[in-house]
Symmetry: C3
Subunit: 348 residues, 3 copies
């Protein structure tokens, strides 16, 4: 009798039925219809943060606590050992511990392990393999949760989907515009890919609006298109940022760097500089769904760069609800992966 | 039916009756007369430390745990995002997240939020407004607790007051000398202002002993005088550090920088250097209440600079009791703000 | 009625009977024969990490949680104040708080305190006194647990002993070779001394295999010899690393620096460089117990430097079990020091 462990590295690890069941449970938890106070009693989640966090760390720590469990937070390179990520490395440099050993050991102490590892910005062809997350998953004997890797931020995707369902009622067929924004730094593509996937799971009309040169990775586009098709939605790309906003039910503002210049900061900054006017201000907002659309952002947000104060603090912004929903979808996820709960339909 | 949230930013947020009721509860908790083991069951306190801590962090984390709750500890700039504190800022610099968004989001995850933010040492006219703490309070929908701001350290004030009641029985009318000390750095005035306020709440004869040029902020002096008057005590300033000690029932040793030279380190250090003999050693201690007085300090203390080893480790020192009492007053505070307890008289 | 507090600074703080009783309890906890879910209910462990940790921190935090308690984690110099360790210091430098005060205060907040403090690499004659750990123990009124000091890592020693009993059944008289390895840095001797002591407690034939110049401190050798004799085992030193492996039941690979050149990095590195071939690879492993022996390491390990990937990931390696056993021996230790449990025979 082999137990197959269940990782959560991408929303596409879930079937459409599982995806919706998880959001249903999250909504019940948010409304207080179920508390499941002791469902994670005695359970431990070990969280490994290679990069900073506010929402992710707090919401997971609270989620474990709310159900009787506990989250341990480790920060390699700060309070914990610097981790080597290359397989087969001859470790005579600065790294003190290999990720393989960390993964195995944490799998012995905890009931689930969660990892955040941003891209290092050297070579896209290498980093797009998401080796840190994959290594951890392979060598850890307990379920692994992706807290944002080079390619995906699936917990953000779940929270985005929950927010869309909450605000739109029936998102199927509604227009979701992922609107690229200028930003002082070339940010990763994990959030835009995951947000677009979230809208695709809901069968929305997904529009990716960004300047030429800011295409997502082809595999991400294929994944979004595939999920979209299965869920009865659509996907298209727009290079005119202003026109893309017309008729949008939702505009999700997000910046990311040009993958074609990944690891070449000067060239990338030069390309990006040409699109400094891609920013969401009140003038541009008037185009969004003829003034009726919602504004989303994953946070943290550069105020008055990506989005103006007026929009963020105004009535169309649902960014704080998105952040709150991180807590509820993660409670649902943890109950599904670790809880002694009645069938969630996500066993394999 | 609107619930008005209750912040704790200053001991003056409490009426005299509330102040004493809170200390009464703290004393009962310390004696074990009430355990209230489950009074904070399921409750979460999110703590944001912009600056280091030992006592504050540990005592709050223990306080939440002892009553069934949990404290999440965040450190912006280390494991968490660097926070922008200026309202309306165009965020194209180093700060990744605005304090407004952090406050809103944490208010969704936690039942109360607590913040430590020391002054930055640039411009007193600006920093005296305590903008970080005020912003957090304004934008967070849950009760905010001040873990030491530019102007106040009210939890230290509560612990100081509890210690005074514990050691003196009836502090009313007894003489409390806040005795300035030389220190290698210009420290903030939050602790001296809060300690003097604590003694004022108890109706003590408060003496501020410091060299000329080290006056507290005029608003702080007015606040201390106001509380003092209401509680039947008195306030006076002494510039002769040795004479001030004669007849003291309690000497609270504390260093702080000259506000007149705030943001001008060289000028401030030069002024401070003239008072290197303001230090508490055995010779000087003989003057304290003719050798009968108690010695207090908030910790951390520079040994053999502010206070000699002989005094700190001797029978008159109550500094460890002060530190322990942080735990008990904060348990009382948290039970009052968050507990399902019987009326503490602090609802608004 | 005086309660004598019980510290755990070295495995030699335990009698042979206590040592084995603790391992018996750890084995029962690992097998789930006892859960003691609420044995540490309401109890707090304050952990002070002056140096990084993955296993120690996680396993202690999980251990407290699994029995209803809570661990607070402090990091002086990061989120907490920089600690002064010298007694009598005139604190006009960078350190903000004295270890004496930190120890006293934490003793008021917590039911036990645990400290990690690695050597600073200046002067062995001074640092061998283990002053940080001794100061903490003297000034803290609650039990102190050594999380690795300059001289000892007794929790690692307990886990090593548990692993040896688990894998060998009856370790008495079996051959345990502590095999020095080259490493890019001069590591401390706490782990090798503690591992050799662990094998000595079990009455094993202990062989210390290292190049000339890498002798452990004479007091450590005397301690190992003393425990060995009491437990019916033996101790000998070998300078031929390859021959030492013949007939070994267990080889414990570990690097450490030459104490004769402590604080002299160039001279030490030069001496160490001559022994770069002291490394455990497949060729050398064939000598270990004629290919039957077990391979141990405390982790973190420099892969392909101290031990090859092939060995670490192969069937003879028990390094992950060693790490897991940290959790179980520490649960047993905490229950013994803090629990309301039935007599463990370790009261004083």
């Amino acid at each position: 009798m082999t137990v197959i462990k269940r990782d959560f590295l991408d929303t596409t690890d879930l079937s459409q039925a599982e995806f919706h069941a998880l959001l249903d449970l999250a909504a019940k938890l948010k409304r207080g219809e179920t508390t499941a106070e002791s469902a994670l009693r005695g359970k431990v989640l070990a969280m490994v943060f290679m990069d900073p966090s506010l929402r992710t760390r707090t919401s997971f720590e609270v989620a474990m606590f709310r159900h009787g469990g506990h989250a341990v937070v480790l920060e390699p390179g700060r309070g914990s050992w610097t981790l080597e990520t290359e397989l087969g490395a001859v470790m005579d440099g600065a790294s003190v511990e290999h990720i393989v050993d960390a993964a195995r050991v944490l799998g012995r102490y905890a009931d689930a392990v969660a990892v955040r590892a941003f891209p290092k910005g050297k070579l896209w062809e290498v980093e797009r393999e998401d080796a840190v997350m994959r290594s951890f998953a392979r060598h850890c004997e307990k379920p692994l949760i992706n807290l944002e890797s080079t390619r995906r931020h699936p917990c953000q995707g779940l929270a985005d989907a929950m927010t869309l369902r909450e605000k739109l009622g029936q998102p199927q067929g509604r227009r979701f515009v992922l609107s690229w924004s200028w930003h002082p730094k070339p940010l990763p593509t994990a959030v835009p890919a995951s947000a677009a996937l979230a809208a695709a799971h809901l069968g929305m009309e997904v529009v990716l609006a960004h300047p030429p040169g800011f295409e997502l990775d082809p595999d991400d586009l294929a994944a979004i298109a595939g999920v979209s098709k299965a869920a009865g939605g659509s996907l298209r790309i727009e290079h005119n940022g202003r026109e893309a906003l017309d008729g949008a039910d939702v505009v999700y503002v997000k910046s990311w760097g040009a993958l074609g210049h990944f690891g070449q900061p000067e060239a990338e900054a030069k390309l990006r500089a040409a699109y400094r006017d891609w920013s969401m201000n009140s003038e541009r907002l008037r185009h969004v769904g003829s003034g009726q659309g919602l504004v989303m952002h994953c946070l943290p947000v550069r105020r008055n760069i990506e989005l103006s104060d007026a929009i963020l603090d105004g009535p169309k912004s649902v960014v704080v609800d998105q952040a709150e929903n991180r807590l509820h979808v993660q409670r649902a996820l943890l109950l599904t992966l670790l809880g002694q709960s009645e069938g969630m339909g996500v066993q394999r």
